[in-house]
């Protein structure tokens, strides 16, 4: 908004806005601060800030636990694997729905969206039993499949809204020049669609990384990612605040950084293109 505002008013709104922002961000900030305190300092009452004893030991200790790197690696494999697999299946579908729409395309899209509304608990039991029987329980492959299916509608939808913005005339021209279908996709469409595909990739890696239903119910230890690890942290560990904070900070840091790059795409992706 290009309204003229006095410096005083701007100073006041700045103060108010920053106060609100810091209150919202405070739990994350406090977690990061706690992760650098010693365990004794972390639970001190009243809470210590300036007089706290600081250390980086917690990070070293959490990382040296026999299993933390495995949980981290599981998160990486599962979130990236499920997203790439989802993209491989969704790109052709979104392409054809955007450029060769049929009479039923809109219904099909709405139906895909409706599968997102099926509550996960409704299919929990068969998934649990099937995974046990097929040997997929507590495996990375199993979680890659489950999370891919969970996010497939969002991936198709996001790609569809991006592809829709590519002018169809360009494809017509390529076709006139005698480009084969696959060449058309590979050399004409893909470069133009790359930003959309990248955004879709980013958002779905975030969603898969943070997923906390299938990762908890379909794993025990071997394939459990960070979300399942943190969810069960306090039970056997006792209350180690500083280590919990260090483990948590490492668990969210990659996503926080990716997330800050994808604010715009987030709005568009999660609203199925309804808000741009």
């Amino acid at each position: 908004m290009a309204r003229a505002t006095s410096t005083r008013r701007k100073a006041l709104t700045t103060l108010a806005a920053w106060t609100v922002a810091l209150v919202i961000f405070f739990p994350v900030l406090w977690m990061i601060l706690t992760s650098f305190k010693t365990e004794v300092s972390a639970v001190a009452s009243p809470p210590e800030l300036l007089g706290a004893s600081w250390t980086v030991e917690n990070y070293a200790e959490v990382w040296q636990r026999s299993d933390y790197p495995r949980f981290f690696w599981n998160s990486v494999v599962i979130s990236i694997g499920s997203t790439l697999l989802g993209l491989a299946i969704a790109i052709p579908a979104a392409w054809s729905m955007a450029f060769v729409p049929g009479r039923k395309t809109k219904d099909l899209l709405m139906w895909m969206l409706s599968t997102k509304m099926m509550p996960a608990v409704g299919v929990l039991i068969p998934m649990y039993l099937l995974f046990q029987r097929l040997g997929l329980f507590d495996t990375k492959i199993g979680l890659v499949l489950a999370l891919m299916l969970m996010n497939l509608p969002i991936i198709v939808w996001m790609l569809y809204t991006y592809f829709k913005e590519i002018p169809g005339e360009i494809l017509e021209a390529a076709r006139m020049d005698g480009a084969a279908l696959w060449n058309e996709i590979l050399y004409v469409l893909t470069p133009m669609a790359l930003p959309g595909i990248a955004s879709t990739l980013l958002l779905n890696v975030i969603l898969a990384w943070n997923e906390a239903f299938w990762t908890i119910t379909l794993t025990t230890t071997k394939a459990a990612p960070l979300s399942a690890f943190i969810a069960s942290f306090s039970a056997p560990q006792g209350l180690f605040y500083a280590k919990l904070s260090a483990a948590s900070t490492m668990a969210i840091a990659p996503i926080l950084i990716l997330g800050w790059f994808s604010q715009k795409q987030l709005v568009r992706g999660l609203t199925f293109g309804a808000v741009k």
């Binding site: 961000f25 009243p46 929990l124 906390a212 969810a231 604010q263």
Partner: protein
């Protein structure tokens, strides 16, 4: 202007997505439906047979059921009210010209990227814990007894945690909507002497209605499935005080290994979700064509 062959190719390319989603929808759903009429406990598999509608009656007549329904409603309703109201206010605030807007937005959006178990366990332990939490320290500092948040107000605690996670989403979408509002209209209203409240009531709010609808629709989908936060903090307790419908089904299936009863609950959840989804789809469908 598409050729016949490209139309066929298009169908072939859609097929894998449709087939996968169809299998993902239909197969487990029918299995759940089948088990919902069976006696089936993983711990005593020798006792099995048809249960008729006994599983459903057991589930609905269980005292936890109505509690869980109420809790689910409280969670979805509570979080929606908090995030939409606060989200609107915060969006209005940070849409003003302020210093450091970029960093400000980064701070406000951050909670959305915190995975549910981390959000839950940090707020539970570092903030709400009756001995070591920051809130307890504040209470003691002011001369009050610490509040046993998870013990005495489990559902409110869960609502607070989930609201913190979803507030950035609502704020971000409402902010996006605000930024597309033309400033001329507001300036004209201001010159005509319209008060700040009536400018909000008659210009800003109508402009934001569509985005508020979208926020409500999308959040409802996600909020109906809230699980990780409850699993990490209260485990549905104390007793069943913070058990929602999804959590009740999870307990029956995975903890009690009672497939038959849990499956009946699953089908009830699917039916309820479909009723909600019907209204949601109509809402989103309306926005789709614009």
């Amino acid at each position: 202007m598409s050729t016949h062959s490209s139309r066929i190719a298009a169908r072939v390319m859609v097929a894998p997505s449709v087939a996968l989603l169809l299998i993902w929808m239909i197969v487990p759903l029918f299995m759940t439906l089948y088990y919902s009429f069976r006696v089936y406990r993983l711990l005593s598999p020798e006792r099995n047979g048809w249960a008729g509608i006994r599983n459903y009656r057991w589930f609905v007549e269980s005292p936890d059921f109505w509690l869980a329904m109420g809790n689910t409603l409280a969670l979805v309703g509570g979080v929606l009210v908090i995030t939409v109201v606060l989200g609107t206010l915060i969006a209005l605030l940070i849409d003003q010209p302020v210093w450091g807007q970029g960093v400000l937005r980064i701070l406000v959006i951050a909670p959305f990227f915190v995975m549910p178990p981390v959000a839950a366990s940090i707020l539970e332990n570092l903030f709400m814990h009756p001995q070591n939490g920051l809130f307890a320290a504040v209470s003691i500092g002011l001369g009050y007894e610490p509040i046993l948040y998870l013990q005495d107000y489990p559902m409110w605690s869960v609502i607070a945690i989930v609201s913190w996670e979803w507030l950035p989403f609502a704020t971000l979408i409402l902010l996006t909507a605000l930024q597309s509002l033309s400033s001329e209209q507001l300036e004209a209203a201001e010159m005509d002497g319209a008060s700040a409240f009536s400018r909000f009531r008659y210009i800003i709010l109508p402009h934001m209605m569509r985005s508020i609808t979208v926020v409500i629709l999308i959040q409802t989908i996600f909020l109906l499935g809230i699980f990780g936060e409850i699993y990490t903090t209260t485990q549905g307790g104390p007793g069943s005080a913070s058990t929602t419908l999804p959590y009740m089904i999870f307990k029956q299936a995975i903890v009690a290994k009672d497939i038959g009863h849990a499956a009946a609950g699953g089908i009830i959840a699917v039916i309820l979700a479909n009723i909600v989804a019907f209204f949601l789809m109509r809402g989103i469908g309306k926005h789709l064509d614009t």
